[in-house]
């Protein structure tokens, strides 16, 4: 429960405000974030990660190459679960290799329970790369 909502209910319980006042204050706060994402933003839970690429090889319109990739986010979840099959020795090697490349990431922290938070954040993800010189456009988003 959000902190503001909790405070209002506590004030109501302590008798500092009336039920009507509490109702008005809660209404003023708006919908809770969990329901707000779908109701206010109109965005449902994303199911796919989309990658769209448009590139022109020689700068002329007739050499346009388009790439459209749609990856189910379920595959991302399955991929993270696959990391649980990596033997501990191999995990250490992976971590060492990552650190050598300057990536401070611990593969042991990649757990399915942490993934839902990541997927939730992907809902609002949009990456647009526009390179006018080579006439290349890349768009990554979730839908």
């Amino acid at each position: 429960m959000p902190e503001n909502r909790k405070q209002i209910l506590e004030m109501l319980a302590e008798g500092k405000i009336t039920a009507d006042e509490a109702d008005r204050l809660i209404a003023a706060l708006g919908p809770e974030p969990s329901e707000g994402a779908a109701a206010v933003g109109g965005k449902a839970w994303p199911k796919y990660l989309r990658v769209l690429v448009e590139a022109e090889e020689d700068g002329e319109g007739d050499s346009l190459t388009k790439v459209n990739i749609r990856v189910p986010l379920q595959l991302l979840r399955a991929g993270v679960r696959l990391t649980s099959l990596i033997p501990p020795v191999a995990r250490e090697h992976v971590n060492e290799a990552l650190h050598q490349q300057g990536i401070g990431f611990d593969i042991n922290q990649l757990k399915p329970e942490n993934l839902e938070e990541l997927v939730d954040q992907l809902k609002d993800l949009t990456i647009d790369v526009d390179q006018p010189k080579s006439k290349t456009k890349v768009r990554v988003f979730c839908e």
């Binding site: 199911k47 796919y48 007739d62 050499s63 346009l64 190459t65 388009k66 790439v67 459209n68 990739i69 749609r70 990856v71 189910p72 379920q74 595959l75 979840r77 399955a78 991929g79 679960r81 696959l82 649980s84 099959l85 033997p87 501990p88």
Partner: protein
């Protein structure tokens, strides 16, 4: 959770179009007896390397099932390839 049943392959080159429906469900049916024969050995091997066998099999099956819905389309001026896993 169902594994993918079909792969739709669409290839277009120089005005000629080829559409292939690859029935993955037939592949699964053909593999099923082999999997049943190899399952005890797989469980044993997974246990020896320190993995929970049924968890590992579930995770692998989940990864295959999660491929459903994947789409890859590449379009060039005179050629196009489309792969859809359904």
């Amino acid at each position: 959770m169902m594994p993918p049943l079909l792969v739709l392959l669409d290839i277009e080159k120089a005005g000629r179009r080829m559409r292939l429906w690859l029935p993955l469900f037939l592949v699964w049916l053909l593999l099923l007896p082999l999997v049943l024969v190899l399952l005890p050995f797989a469980i044993l091997a997974l246990a020896v390397i320190g993995l929970r066998p049924f968890h590992a099999i579930g995770v692998l099956f989940g990864a295959i099932a999660a491929l459903k819905g994947t789409v890859i389309e590449i379009t060039r001026p005179r050629a196009a390839v489309s792969i859809r896993i359904v």
